[in-house]
């Protein structure tokens, strides 16, 4: 675990890789409109490791999807705010324009690799497709595929495997190889280890840490797991009911949370019991349990 005293000091001057300003996303249903995200401003600078934490329904995944133009068409709409990728305003991009930024500079991995992998195509070909499509400068595709497998520490023989033949941890590595094939400068990881066992999770997190250092890649980790965020991310944004309620250096925010929801969440995440032997709960205004 490494925490610098002043996270991102040298990158402070660098222009943000990704920036949202006052982002608001509405979901339209047949007879009502739900605001899933409001007034969300997030910055990720080159090489940084940033977390967006929140519970289910907080809007964190909607933010991640909006950043890659992956919001469901017709249902979801960005109603205000801007998204900048690499200094470019991408808010009003058309689907074709989005394709030009997806993968590079920004790639994404998801919680459930199986649903993003083609079940009837060998892993090698799936990685090769990503390279051919997003990294046109690469001439020797098979060599690059081998290199990517090595990068995510999968045996070379994996190219012949189908997704169902692999374990959950290996599938997540395949998904990572596909993402890295695009040479991203920022990786958005939406709950990448949630479905994995703790020992496998530890391996994937170590791999991500190593890859970030070797490739100088920034990471935006979307997670509900404060322990993972504490160990992996320099800065954190806490989301609650569609808004960012607190943000700052992870150490600072976790040690001295200013928002009651954040402190409740931290206590609850520690499975702490009070002097009466009761588990800490988040009650009242900041409870996510609705009636």
């Amino acid at each position: 675990m490494t925490h610098t005293d002043n996270p991102g000091r040298e990158s402070q001057a660098a222009p943000p890789l990704l920036q949202t300003e006052g982002l608001r996303v509405d979901y339209r249903t047949r007879n009502s409109t739900v605001t899933a995200v409001q007034d969300v401003s997030i910055i990720v600078r080159p090489g940084e490791s940033v977390a967006l934490v929140g519970e289910s329904g907080s809007g964190k995944s909607t933010v991640a999807r909006a950043m890659l133009g992956l919001l469901p068409d017709r249902i979801a709409r960005i109603t205000s705010g801007r998204i900048h990728l690499n200094g470019r305003d991408v808010t009003d991009f058309t689907p074709t324009q989005w394709e030009s930024v997806r993968g590079h500079p920004v790639a994404m991995v998801f919680q459930d690799p199986l649903s993003y992998l083609n079940p009837v195509m060998r892993v090698g070909r799936q990685i090769a497709e990503s390279v051919k499509r997003h990294d046109k400068a690469t001439r020797d595709v098979p060599a690059r595929v081998a290199e990517l497998l090595e990068l995510v520490r999968l045996p070379a023989s994996t190219i012949r495997s189908y997704p169902h033949e692999l374990s959950g941890g290996m599938r997540q590595r395949v998904l990572l190889a596909i993402a890295l094939g695009c040479r991203p400068r920022l990786l958005i990881a939406d709950e990448p280890t949630t479905a994995l066992d703790v020992t496998t999770q530890a391996e994937i997190l170590a791999l991500l840490r190593d890859l970030r250092q070797r490739l100088g890649m920034a990471m935006l980790l979307i997670s509900h797991d404060l322990g993972v965020v504490w160990e992996e991310c320099e800065r954190v944004y806490v989301m609650f009911r569609s808004r960012i309620v607190e943000s700052g250096a992870t150490q600072e925010v976790f040690a001295r949370p200013t928002h009651p929801y954040t402190s409740g969440l931290i206590l609850a995440a520690q499975a702490a019991r009070d002097s009466n032997g009761r588990f800490v709960t988040i009650e009242g205004e900041y409870s996510t349990a609705q009636d």
Partner: protein
């Protein structure tokens, strides 16, 4: 810790409610061969005690839970509940005995019939109890913190939140006045803010009704905070059993060490400094 761990010192006072004795279970694999899911596991849960069974996916912990519940027959060994051997018990006797041992599952949505209201779901569990009616339903709902009960009793499962659904499934288990609840990952679908509420509820129930829990979980921090004893499973074998705090702060087996070390903790943050 309110619960006395069943160490040799207190063994005289502790009354076993569940005794799993040298249980093994093999599964046939498609294409030939067998897979040993549970290998000669012995574990005892005492009356009123909370035991956590931890392990990773594929360790056999859920299979062991299903065998304990009588949902699956062991290939070898036996399960004894409240002094009666379940293995080989005639069906009728088994059903009667089994009502005192109730499961709580991970996904309450899947275990509640979507076409029945909360009242119907509870009455289904109460049908054998003479005189049980609306009053008993109300009391069960209040017991699990769904207050006022009138607000919830006529709802369908889809009209409840995830936490509320889990409470209904707990209420339904309680209807049978169980002595043992076997809870298989009851919290893994729940957000952290709901987790505390469900755990407190389970503690309340333990105190009020004197039930024992066998909690099957992959979550080490919950096992440590909730259980008095913990049993660690790996590849079908029980590798370590003992008082929760002792086993998890000072693991002896290499696997337990690896498991505990892999859990990302809010290191350096004590509950006090976070308050």
């Amino acid at each position: 810790m309110e619960n006395i761990p069943s160490t040799s010192a207190s063994a005289g006072a502790a009354q076993p409610i569940l005794v799993i004795d040298s249980v093994s279970k093999n599964f046939r694999i498609a294409g030939g061969g067998t897979f040993a899911a549970v290998k000669s596991v012995s574990l005892t849960v005492n009356a009123g005690e909370i035991v956590a069974l931890v392990g990773e996916s594929g360790s056999g912990k859920s299979t062991l839970g299903r065998i304990a519940l009588g949902l699956m027959q062991p290939d070898e060994g036996s399960v004894t509940f409240d002094g009666t051997r379940l293995t080989g018990l005639p069906a009728e006797a088994f059903r009667t005995l089994r009502t005192r041992m109730q499961p709580i599952f991970q996904d309450p949505t899947a275990s509640l019939n979507p076409r029945k209201t909360v009242r119907e779901l509870l009455m289904q569990a109460l049908w054998k109890q003479p005189g049980a009616g609306a009053a008993r339903c109300t009391q069960l709902l209040e017991d699990v913190g769904l207050r006022p009960a009138a607000r919830f009793i006529d709802r369908y499962p889809h009209e409840l939140s995830g936490g509320q659904r889990q409470r209904v499934s707990i209420a339904r288990s309680l209807a049978m006045e169980p002595r043992l609840i076997i809870a298989d990952e009851p919290l893994s679908g729940a957000d952290v803010s709901i987790r505390g509420q469900v755990l407190n509820l389970m503690l309340d129930i333990q105190k009020k009704h004197d039930v024992a829990y066998l909690m099957i979980t992959h979550d080490i921090s919950i096992a440590r905070a909730f259980a008095s004893r913990v049993a660690v499973m790996m590849k079908g074998e029980l590798v370590e059993v003992g008082p929760a705090e002792e086993v998890l702060s000072n693991p002896q087996h290499a696997y337990t060490k690896r498991l505990v070390a892999a859990v990302p903790l809010l290191g350096g943050l004590t509950p006090a400094s976070a308050a």
